[in-house]
């Protein structure tokens, strides 16, 4: 050791703080800590308040709606024409439209998003990743109305070349573009989850003679499963709630079908249609958007609860 003891000796010469000093400080300290904790708790509660607010708004307006329309017919009627002279209030066509477009979107977004995530996390050089990832995230920043026109003007005409008598508005085209639009949500989160798998896992696998592909699929993917599932759940929620793309390209036609080649309307598209439209507030047609919104909210809620349980089950343990 190069130092002498003089430093340490000087150091210990001051008397320790007396006990009463400490007590005085403690009271002040505890008060301050308490106030800060309450403030932070308040901030955390805002998210709960938001949910409560959403549910309150949706339920109270839906309440009026359901005093005119029976829940039974809402859930079983196969026609949705709330704004017509002879209104029918069956949510099934909208639900079918929502599920079909979402399904198409997921068929695009999950394989592509996962592939991209694996490619970026395990195959691409770091420099490529650093450039490409923000780029992909920008896809999430393009206004969805732009995607809507992209679907209508580019993708659907292309599809019509493949499927000759495809109608000009359909769930397939809207769903595909919606899928592309949610790729970044899926790929970015899934990639984060895979990056988070410690390097020691990769070294372990490579040291056995595994290729990148084997490492990615057999080790990294299962290890990151819970994070990847979160990414999927978010992607599904996005698809279910996506509005402008389907509003522009899917045809706005409540159609009780799951055939993606046909036009249809989704719950969110219906809501924005009415919000943009001409309906007197307080009319039953206006209240119908809250009933529709409530259905949408319940769907995403159910989805996320399932996601929560599934994620718990696959929690990473490296």
């Amino acid at each position: 050791m190069r130092e002498t003891n003089s430093g340490a000796a000087a150091l210990m010469s001051q008397p320790p703080l007396t006990v009463s000093d400490r007590l005085a400080r403690k009271a002040l300290r505890n008060f301050k800590e308490r106030v800060i904790e309450l403030l932070l708790l308040g901030a955390a509660s805002v998210s709960v308040l938001t949910t409560v607010g959403i549910i309150w708004v949706l339920v109270s307006e839906s309440f009026n709606f359901f005093s005119n329309v029976s829940i039974w017919s809402f859930l079983t009627d196969t026609m949705w024409t709330p704004l017509f002279a002879e209104p029918r209030y069956g949510i099934l066509p909208l639900l079918a439209g929502t599920l079909t477009t979402s399904m198409v979107a997921l068929v695009v977004a999950i394989p592509l998003g996962t592939t991209i995530a694996i490619y970026l996390s395990e195959f691409a050089r770091p420099a490529v990743r650093e450039v490409v990832k923000p780029f992909l995230e920008l896809l999430g920043g393009i206004p969805t109305i732009v995607y809507g026109y992209f679907a209508l003007m580019v993708v659907i005409p292309l599809l019509q070349l493949l499927i000759p008598d495809l109608s000009g508005f359909n769930m397939l085209g809207a769903g595909i573009v919606m899928g592309i639009a949610i790729i970044p949500y899926v790929s970015s989160l899934a990639e984060d989850a895979m990056r988070a798998v410690p390097m020691s896992m990769r070294e372990g696998s490579y040291a056995m003679g595994a290729t990148k592909l084997q490492t990615a699929f057999r080790v990294i993917f299962p290890a990151a499963l819970s994070g990847i599932l979160s990414a999927y759940i978010l992607g599904i929620s996005r698809a279910v709630g996506e509005t402008m793309i389907v509003a522009v390209a899917a045809g706005m036609q409540p159609n009780f079908t799951v055939n993606p080649l046909e036009p249809a309307q989704t719950i969110s598209a219906y809501i924005v249609q009415v919000a943009l439209g001409d309906l007197p507030h307080g009319s039953i047609g206006y209240q119908s958007i809250f009933a529709a919104g409530l259905s949408l909210m319940l769907m995403t809620l159910a989805l996320n609860l399932v996601g929560h349980v599934v994620r718990r089950r696959f929690r990473e343990a490296y």
Binding site: L83, F84, L152, S167, Q253, Q273, L276, D278, L279
Partner: protein, 307 residues
């Protein structure tokens, strides 16, 4: 600094926007004008809460809305500002549609047609057996209300299996891409897309097929699909100089500006009458809260004279 707040119909928006733009310029920015689009119904909702000064409306005020305004003590002056001609369009490549009668349109659009009338042949035996593709206004727009009233005979009575959109350009795209398509929307969208679409002459009450156009609207021969559009001004707001100035400016320039944005202006006489109403504060509506179709300019003027 003073502000004029306007909201309401998307159909009336282009005219009001043009007026607002020029008015602000003429006032050298001393007066602020804001124009929103929340639909005729949304506009009346705000109007009857006293949140805005002027409501744009593509149809006359309805009973429900009159009650709401009355309850809030809002009185208003109704001012027709231009005409719109709902235009039935088909694909330019379509060879067999030469004209359509209201009965034929009804066959296509009435609620009973849903799922049943799916080919042109079913509409008229002389048409080929080609699939029928329909495009139309979203079910909560003033355009939809008016069209159904005029064609089917009952507002909002329509089949549901057609492609609807609030955005008329989407409909333009749809019709221009499909040989067997037919659709309807405001005249301005047709006027701007004449290359991609053809307007279908409509057989009028007199039994004559008439193409939409300013002249046909003005002389009343394009019926029943032409309709007046309005602004409603709150009486209280008129006490503010800037609102009065704005409305006066509107009526004085509507003719020129409506033409510019491809609407059909009213005859000059009509604007003078309207201006008089403003000055004399003639309150209320001439429609009695019921939707009405095929009102000609003369009829409108006559009614207004009686106010």
């Amino acid at each position: 600094q003073s502000t004029v707040k306007i909201d309401g119909s998307s159909t009336v928006f282009p005219v009001t926007e043009a007026v607002a733009e020029d008015f602000q310029k003429s006032k050298k920015g001393e007066v602020k004008v804001t124009v929103g689009i929340s639909g005729t119904g949304g506009g009346f909702k705000k109007f009857c809460r006293g949140e805005i000064d002027v409501a744009d409306a593509s149809r006359p005020i309805l009973k429900k809305e009159m009650d709401a305004c009355a309850q809030a003590g809002i009185k208003y002056i109704e001012l027709p500002v231009a005409f719109d001609a709902l235009t039935v369009v088909a694909n330019p490549k379509n060879a067999f549609i030469k004209q359509l009668s209201v009965e034929q349109l009804k066959k296509m659009w009435e609620p009973d047609a849903q799922g049943k009338v799916t080919t042109w042949k079913q509409v008229d035996a002389s048409f080929p057996d080609a699939p029928l593709k329909l495009f139309g206004a979203g079910s909560d727009s003033g355009t939809f209300d008016y069209f159904t009233e005029a064609v089917v005979g009952k507002a909002k009575a329509s089949r549901g299996d057609y492609t609807a959109s609030e955005d008329d350009n989407v409909l333009v795209q749809g019709v221009s891409r499909d040989v067997n398509a037919v659709g309807y929307f405001g005249y301005a969208y047709y006027a701007e897309n004449k290359g991609k679409l053809k307007a279908v002459p409509i057989v009028n009450k007199e039994g004559k097929p008439v193409e939409p156009g300013p002249a046909a609207v003005l002389d009343g021969s394009y019926n029943p699909l032409s309709r007046p559009i309005f602004i409603y001004v709150a009486e209280k707001s008129l006490e503010k100089a800037e609102v009065r100035d704005f409305v006066t400016f509107y009526l004085k320039n509507a003719s020129k500006l409506a033409t510019e944005v491809k609407y059909v202006p009213l005859p000059a006489k009509s604007y003078e009458v309207a201006l008089e109403h403003v000055n004399k504060k003639k309150l209320g509506t001439v429609f009695g809260g019921e939707p009405e179709i095929g009102v000609t300019i003369e009829a409108l003027l006559a009614r207004e004279a009686k106010l």
